[in-house]
């Protein structure tokens, strides 16, 4: 009985120890779509899809589409999700009135202090 009690206490004590989070050093962002310099017709969708994989727990990610000439933010969506990997999958309809190079940017949050891993692909949106 005493042995069971001791083992139970030891088990609880071990369980109570806070698991140390591994610092993220390596993040791999992969685009399945679009590919670089894809041409998007007017009112067709830019389809941003791919994966993010890290060697530790990430603090979320953001997918943004940016007008490369003036820096205007055309679309953004932030996911506040703690995980080691994600599938990202976003859509934006090309409603631009001029031929525009658009940056598709994916940023993964390595920690809560603003350290990020970033990958970009440029596509051409036609009016």
């Amino acid at each position: 009985m005493k042995v069971i009690f001791i083992f139970s206490l030891a088990f609880l004590a071990l369980g109570a120890c806070k698991k140390e989070e591994k610092t993220v050093t390596n993040v791999e962002i992969t685009f399945a779509e679009p590919t670089s310099n894809d041409t998007i017709l007017s009112y067709n969708q830019v389809h941003a899809e791919g994966t993010i994989v890290a060697d530790g727990t990430l603090e979320g990610y953001t997918v943004s589409l940016i007008h490369s000439s003036n820096g205007a933010l055309l679309y953004t969506n932030t996911y506040d999700v703690q995980a080691k990997s994600y599938n990202f999958h976003e859509h934006w309809t090309n409603n631009l009135s001029d031929t525009t190079q658009v940056i598709v940017r994916v940023e993964a949050n390595k920690d809560k202090n603003g350290n990020k891993a970033t990958k970009e692909i440029k596509v051409v949106c036609l009016p």
Binding site: E33, Q45, E49, N77, Y79, A83, N87
Partner: protein, 305 residues
């Protein structure tokens, strides 16, 4: 004993559906359990549900998708335990096998989301032979646990996954009215779904089924119960990170014709159910439900209570 089996048979089997949705697989179905009779039996059983869909070309980022065919199959182990006259608990352990075929075949399978339910019997006089009209009704509440896999790296068709990743809440009401060997029953259920870890929330789901049946006692051991009826199912749209998911394959309604056959033999019962869509509007008509079929086998164990 046979009557209790039959009551279970009529009620539980008759409107027992896991159907619901468009092309969303078991993960996001409207889980409605069906009537729980106040029979004196515990039960164990298994059932398989096959749902067949076709998806038509939908705009993609760079063009159009191929027409695809989907078969969503869920094989559930079912157990029920009776607690007193008025309460029962049930559990469903699904194994999901989802297949999609377009230019290639994609297969996803694994343990689905386990469901546990408690039911309260608010009326039951089906054993009362002195009554012309007999009725029975149950109200149930339950929870679906996120035991099935929702995330798979590099695979973003969430409707294909065995699990929803969310804890969902289920409510259902069943009522049956019987006159001699004729009867009718209704089962309605609502599933409230929550957001999962990855900020994806499947749409809530509603299902209601009305059937009419006839009980045919073939001999002392065999009872046949054919049923005909209708079913209406509605799924609300999914939300991703709080907004409607553009890439969702969910949302819409189906109006089904229902034909069922139940066969009772001693402590066993066999169930065959067929759902044929009469009218539907799924995912802005890009998805077409072709049919749903379910077969099941149950074994009854006498309760001491």
């Amino acid at each position: 004993m046979k009557q209790s089996i039959l009551i279970w048979f009529l009620f539980f089997g008759g409107a027992n559906q896991l159907l619901a949705c468009d092309i969303c697989g078991c993960a996001s179905s409207a889980f409605t359990v069906g009537m729980l009779p106040t029979s004196k039996y515990h039960l164990v059983g298994a059932r398989t549900t096959l749902r067949w869909f076709e998806s038509y070309p939908a705009p993609d980022g760079n063009g159009f998708r191929d027409i695809s065919t989907q078969f969503f199959t869920s094989t559930d182990l079912v157990g029920r335990y009776r607690i007193g006259r008025r309460f029962q608990v049930q559990a469903f352990i699904p194994f999901v096998h989802n297949q999609k075929t377009d230019s290639m075949t994609t297969l996803i399978q694994g343990l689905g989301d386990i469901v546990a339910l408690g039911n309260y019997v608010f009326v039951d006089n089906m054993d009362s032979l002195s009554r012309k009209f007999r009725n029975a009704g149950t109200i149930g509440l339950g929870v679906k646990a996120p035991s099935g896999q929702f995330f798979k790296l590099g695979f973003d068709e969430v409707n294909m996954m065995p699990g929803s990743g969310s804890t969902d809440f289920i409510a259902n009401v069943n009522y049956a009215l019987q006159y001699k060997n004729f009867g009718m029953q209704n089962e309605s259920g609502f599933t409230y779904k929550t957001e999962n870890k990855y900020k994806y929330r499947f749409g809530n789901a509603l299902s209601s089924t009305q059937v009419f049946y006839y009980r045919w006692k073939v001999n002392e051991n065999i009872i046949l119960v054919p049923q005909l009826g209708v079913n209406y199912t509605h799924n609300w749209k999914d939300r991703k990170n709080g907004i409607y998911a553009v890439d969702s394959f969910n949302g819409g309604s189906v109006f089904n014709a229902v034909a069922n056959l139940f066969v009772s033999y001693k402590n066993f019962s066999f169930i065959g159910q067929f759902f044929i869509p009469m009218q539907q509007s799924l995912n802005e008509n890009l998805v077409n439900q072709k049919a749903m079929i379910r077969v099941g086998l149950n074994y009854f164990i006498k309760s001491k209570k």
